[in-house]
């Protein structure tokens, strides 16, 4: 083979390889395109529009009118909005904190051999299976004055509580349902985290004479730190988005006691048709959600080379 022919042969080969590579790249772009298109149109575009609408006055009938930051200024002086924000914060704080020890505790108890364990685990998991709307309907019934919850409380000598009818207890009633539903969900995640801890660690600790509590404090808890952080973050995000249960059970009442932010956004937009104001509230919710989901995304991409 002459040297020119060889060179030619090499270029052809390289071109062929390049052709193959670009064909593969084309395929790779083509199969991710539908995903990118849907997310661009139905997630990113609405978010950008939310920022835009938050600067306008818009009632769906007249075209949007640019009013600058007036919506935000208004909101900061609106007692209803401030109340709603406070309700949301209270809901998040008091429905997230108890779930943490409860779900971790259950996971630890399940992480051992036990009679009819599988049955018990399935039974405790059941709340995750119940649709949110059904949950709202069933608990509304259970919270009735002569309902089953007050009956059971009566066994322990506790006087009947007005639950959903009193502004003092309505939020607690809703929070209780959130805990009931979230605990088994995060129990499953903790259980997965627990099972990732090598058994050798515990064996070694036992040889060193560490008891059950000592190995829990010095092995389990430190190794579960990433799982715990993720559980808190996910749970906070879920709690910030709670909507169906307060809408159906109380419609935000009594006396605005359960009007969480998503519910207020919904009512402002689709009952009072004040799209601009609702969008401005959405921006507040977005910032709050983003602070937490940023941590989540960071954890999901941790230790990866992203180029």
């Amino acid at each position: 083979m002459s040297s020119t022919a060889y060179a030619e042969h090499r270029t052809v080969k390289r071109r062929m390889r390049l052709g193959l590579a670009s064909k593969q790249a084309l395929f790779a772009y083509a199969i991710i395109l539908p995903t990118l298109a849907i997310l661009a149109i139905f997630r990113f575009l609405p978010m950008l529009e939310a920022f835009y609408f938050s600067l306008t006055q818009y009632d769906l009938v007249h075209p949007p009118k640019f009013i600058g930051l007036a919506n935000f200024v208004d909101l900061m002086g609106d007692p209803l909005f401030l109340k709603s924000a406070r309700v949301s914060i209270a809901y998040v704080v008091f429905s997230v904190i108890p779930v943490l020890p409860l779900s971790l505790g259950l996971a630890v108890l399940f992480n051992r051999s036990l009679w009819i364990k599988n049955f018990l685990r399935s039974a405790i998991f059941m709340p995750v299976v119940m649709p949110a709307v059904v949950m709202a309907v069933v608990w509304t019934f259970m919270y009735q004055q002569d309902g089953v919850i007050n009956t059971i409380l009566g066994w322990f000598g506790i006087d009947p509580i007005a639950w959903l009818r009193s502004s003092a207890s309505a939020l607690w009633a809703v929070i209780l349902i959130g805990i009931w539903r979230a605990t088994p969900y995060y129990m499953v995640i903790f259980l997965a985290g627990l099972q990732a801890i090598p058994a050798d660690y515990y064996d070694a600790a036992k040889i060193d004479g560490a008891g059950g509590w000592a190995s829990f404090w010095h092995i389990t808890l430190p190794l579960l730190k990433p799982t715990t952080l993720l559980v808190v973050v996910m749970n906070v995000i879920v709690a910030m988005k709670v909507f169906a249960v307060p809408l159906i059970m109380t419609n935000g009442g009594p006396a605005d006691a359960t009007r969480v932010l998503p519910l207020f956004i919904y009512q402002t937009a689709f009952e009072f048709f004040d799209m601009g104001r609702a969008a401005a509230m959405s921006v507040f919710l977005f910032v709050a959600v983003m602070l937490f989901s940023f941590v989540q995304v960071r954890m999901f991409t941790r230790g990866e080379e992203l180029r």
């Binding site: 539908p34 978010m47 997965a192 992203l306």
Partner: protein, 298 residues
């Protein structure tokens, strides 16, 4: 990251009974009994709403708030199911919910795995950026974007349509993440050797990659179906026509119009939960895997 869709199986890490004498064994036994009692009590709390929902659907209205409270319905009354089912077009609502949930599930299975495949087995410019962008949609929940999304759907003339209920949710950032993590464990050699054998890219994906992803796909399917069946806020915003109502809308409407017919309300609640309970019993492993996968694996 092979462990992502691994089953949550309990490893018997509990202390085994060593022959340390009777007292130690008794203490251990007592510990086990305490644990059992605690878990049993918790199970009673988690199951109470289910039992109460079912038993109340069979109780007659006269006995609904009787004193003392009636734990076992007597007489048993099945009529509430028939009456409730006919009070509104629940057949239609069930059908709509089924169509929407199945379409969203199939869409996610296909699009999430395609995107995951693209993100793991190919090298091209902007791949990392695309992954971060897709993942960051998890920061944009519907509760934040509902107002403009509603306006977009209205502009598309998709209010009161199936596509309005389905298309925005055909793919999900978390689903892509789940599939990507699972696909990282598929060896590249397998794909390369199929290429050498002359298989087309699409054929490789369909015949080699997808079958290998079965555990992740089942987990994703169950997870997505559950969320889609549960969807409430979005249909509430864009559906006003009765013939397009989904089951959650039907149930909440029933609640506002028949608010005190508790027997019928509970009957409908039972029927609305039944598909989820069946799914859970038949696909329990996948159900729990899907949720465990929302956590992290080291």
């Amino acid at each position: 990251m092979t462990g992502n869709a691994e089953l949550v199986v309990a490893r018997p890490t509990g202390p085994k009974t060593p022959a340390k004498g009777l007292i130690a064994r008794l203490l251990l036994r007592r510990g086990t009994i305490v644990v059992f009692c605690v878990l049993f009590a918790v199970a009673c709390i988690t199951l109470l709403p289910f039992y109460w929902m079912f038993s109340s659907s069979l109780r007659t209205m006269e006995n609904m708030f009787s004193l003392p409270i009636q734990w076992i319905p007597d007489p048993v009354n099945w009529m509430s199911y028939v009456i409730a089912w006919q009070a509104q077009d629940f057949t239609r609502y069930f059908f709509n919910s089924g169509v929407v949930a199945i379409a969203i599930t199939l869409g996610n299975l296909l699009l999430c795995s395609l995107a995951g495949y693209s993100l793991t087995k190919f090298h091209y410019r902007g791949r990392g950026l695309m992954f971060v962008l897709i993942l960051s949609t998890m920061m944009l929940p519907l509760e934040v974007t509902m107002v403009p999304l509603f306006l977009i759907i209205k502009q598309l003339d998709w209010a009161n349509t199936y596509q309005g209920l389905i298309v925005p949710f055909l793919v999900d950032g978390f689903g892509v993440f789940l599939m990507r993590q699972y696909m990282l464990s598929i060896p590249k050699d397998l794909i390369d050797s199929a290429r050498i054998d002359g298989a087309s890219e699409l054929r490789i994906f369909w015949m080699i990659v997808l079958p290998l992803c079965k555990p992740a796909l089942v987990a994703l399917a169950v997870f997505t179906f559950r969320e889609a069946w549960d969807m409430y806020i979005w249909p509430l915003i864009i559906i006003t026509k009765d013939s397009l109502r989904t089951l959650p809308l039907g149930i909440s409407l029933f609640m506002s119009s028949y608010g005190t017919s508790w027997d019928q309300l509970m009957a409908i609640a039972v029927l609305g939960t039944l598909p989820m309970i069946l799914l859970f019993f038949f696909l329990q492993r996948a159900f729990i895997q899907g949720i465990a996968a929302t956590g992290l694996k080291e």
